[in-house]
């Protein structure tokens, strides 16, 4: 029989995954001014790049509502690229984005590739890029962040409405 404690631990393990939601050891965000490699870019003047790992979209709260609201806000359309850092199941990420009604180009990278490119492990972050360089970033686990309000004016749009 599985004890109540063991079951609780298992649920948490399932929920938290390997890296874990809110894992204090999570990597730092990429600093402002850091250039993104071409594969992750759409080459638009302003663009959003969402770095996501399996545990980030399978178990944790995500910034999906904020990204969705940002995409629907009036103003200049800003392309969204999702960089999926994982060795398999990129199709699951596409399903997740479709269910969340987020239009994005999905690029995949292994954890090693990501570390090679950036010199550090992937962290779940959403980046606003200006000409390919980090202009701002937010945690991708923050389900309250209002991206339309935060970035809307900078990219030439309104503040947007709705949740974010």
């Amino acid at each position: 029989m599985v004890t109540r404690t063991a079951r609780g631990a298992l649920i948490l393990a399932l929920l938290l995954g390997g890296g874990g939601c809110g894992d204090p050891r999570a990597a730092d965000p990429l600093p402002v001014g850091r250039e993104f490699p071409g594969f992750a870019r759409s080459w638009a003047p302003w663009e959003v790049v969402w770095v996501i790992r399996p545990e980030d979209f399978l178990t944790c709260q995500t910034v999906a509502r904020g990204v969705r609201a940002f995409q629907r806000a009036p103003g200049v359309p800003v392309p969204v690229t999702v960089v999926y850092v994982g060795d398999s199941h990129a199709d699951w990420v596409r399903d997740f984005l479709r269910r969340q009604r987020i239009q994005a180009t999905v690029r995949t990278a292994s954890e090693r590739q990501f570390a090679d490119w950036f010199g550090q492990p992937a962290a779940p972050r959403v980046y606003l890029l200006r000409r390919g360089r980090v202009a701002d970033q937010v945690s991708a686990r923050d389900d309250r962040v209002h991206l339309a309000r935060r970035w809307g004016r900078a990219v030439g749009g309104g503040e947007g409405r709705g949740g974010g």
């Binding site: 029989m1 599985v2 109540r4 404690t5 079951r7 609780g8 631990a9 298992l10 649920i11 948490l12 393990a13 399932l14 929920l15 938290l16 995954g17 390997g18 939601c21 399996p54 545990e55 979209f57 399978l58 178990t59 944790c60 709260q61 995500t62 999906a64 509502r65 969705r68 629907r72 806000a73 009036p74 994982g86 398999s88 199941h89 199709d91 699951w92 399903d95 997740f96 479709r98 269910r99 969340q100 009604r101 389900d143 309250r144 947007g160 409405r161 709705g162 949740g163």
Partner: protein
């Protein structure tokens, strides 16, 4: 159970997982996953199943499709629908946007209210919105919160907290009695350990009784019931029909929670959870998700006017459910079972109109309504 900080965080951790298990909707079969569990064969039957539209025609007569109106501020993401008897339209609760929408019969947006947050008009995991006989709108969060709005959603009439969370099902039995399906995780609140149905008095905001404790024996079943232990209900007159995700039986209760009987569900394609199969490693999330996809989960039961039942269940690949529908007689006789159906959102008890997501639709704001054929 987890220690105190984790216990407090539990709803926030549990809800996204449950939301993705319960709420999402992707009716079209997709290409085979790269899953290490060999699920592909399960989704490639020797005899091709009819496509979603053919299934609807098999069930009855499809009406013209309904497209729910959307705006910049209104987008349907994870939706649960109830019929709005006062208008002939629909009330939609969106768990992702935490927004309640009133739609007309043809999908026109009448109004919307509520939003994400912790305030009086706000929700974290909005589960359901129902019209009360007073005209007010009752809204339930997935974790412990209920709010009664006035008929237009412009004012909060009152709010209350329940010990139930996560909430899997919500059924209004009469003006004062609400049936909540789900778990009570705070042991101080539990009067019947393991019970998954709870009668809530809306006039007094009190829990009257908890009942329905499905047997969960074996390590695999215990784990599965912890992460996918859905309970679903429907009611006719003074009888409640209830199902549990892992048990191939419909249980019948009266409004006091007394058991009246049970009917075996004559599944032919349901993938039962095996206790003999090895359990996955739970230290990495992909393996756990693959394991959850290795067995079927009953998600809904609908009780039709002729006494027959529709049982909806799901097989999962990754984050996506594949919906299956079984139609059975009141005595347990088999009528039909179909795989890869569009998701059945709800059945109007007044006329047996079935509302599905539209086959092939990428978004949950396109619906198909079907008048059930007599059999």
């Amino acid at each position: 159970m987890p220690d105190k900080p984790l216990r407090r965080a539990f709803p926030l951790l549990m809800a996204p997982l449950l939301a993705s298990l319960q709420g999402c909707d992707m009716p079209e079969p997709r290409s085979a996953s790269t899953s290490r569990i060999a699920t592909a064969a399960l989704f490639a039957p020797a005899t091709p199943e009819p496509d979603g539209n053919a299934v609807l025609e098999e069930l009855g007569k499809p009406d013209k499709p309904i497209r729910l109106e959307e705006t910049q501020a209104v987008v349907n993401v994870i939706v649960r629908m109830t019929f709005d008897r006062s208008t002939g339209g629909y009330l939609v609760a969106d768990e992702s946007e935490n927004q309640i929408r009133q739609y007309g019969p043809d999908g026109e947006l009448v109004r919307y209210f509520a939003r994400h947050g912790d305030g009086p008009r706000e929700f974290r995991f909005l589960n359901r919105a129902l019209r009360l006989s007073t005209g007010e709108v009752l809204a339930l969060d997935g974790f412990n919160k209920g709010v009664v709005f006035d008929s237009t959603g412009s004012r909060v009439v009152r709010s209350f907290s329940t010990p139930v969370g996560p909430v899997h099902s919500v059924q209004l039995l009469n003006d004062s009695l609400l049936l909540l399906g789900g778990e009570i995780r705070d042991e101080r609140e539990v009067t019947s350990p393991g019970a998954r149905l709870h009668l809530w008095n809306l006039n007094r905001d009190t829990l009257i009784r908890s009942f329905f404790t499905p047997a969960v024996r074996g390590q695999a079943r215990q784990m599965a019931s912890s992460v996918g232990g859905f309970v679903a209900t429907d009611a006719r007159a003074d009888t409640i029909a209830a199902v549990f995700a892992l048990t191939d039986t419909i249980f019948l209760f009266d409004h006091a929670g007394r058991r009246l009987g049970q009917v075996p569900i004559p599944f032919r394609k349901f993938r039962r959870l095996s206790e003999s199969a090895s359990l996955p490693r739970f230290d990495e999330v992909l393996g756990a998700r693959e394991w959850v996809g290795s067995f079927s989960l009953i998600s809904h039961v609908f009780w039709l006017r002729d006494g027959s039942f529709l049982v909806q269940y799901q097989d999962r690949i990754g984050t996506e459910p594949r919906w299956r529908l079984l139609h059975m007689r009141r005595d347990g006789g088999f009528i039909l079972e179909r795989r890869d159906t569009p998701k059945l959102l709800n059945v109007d008890q007044a006329n047996d109109h079935l509302v599905f997501t539209r086959p092939g639709s990428e978004a949950p704001n396109e619906w198909s309504r079907v008048r059930l054929a007599e059999r």
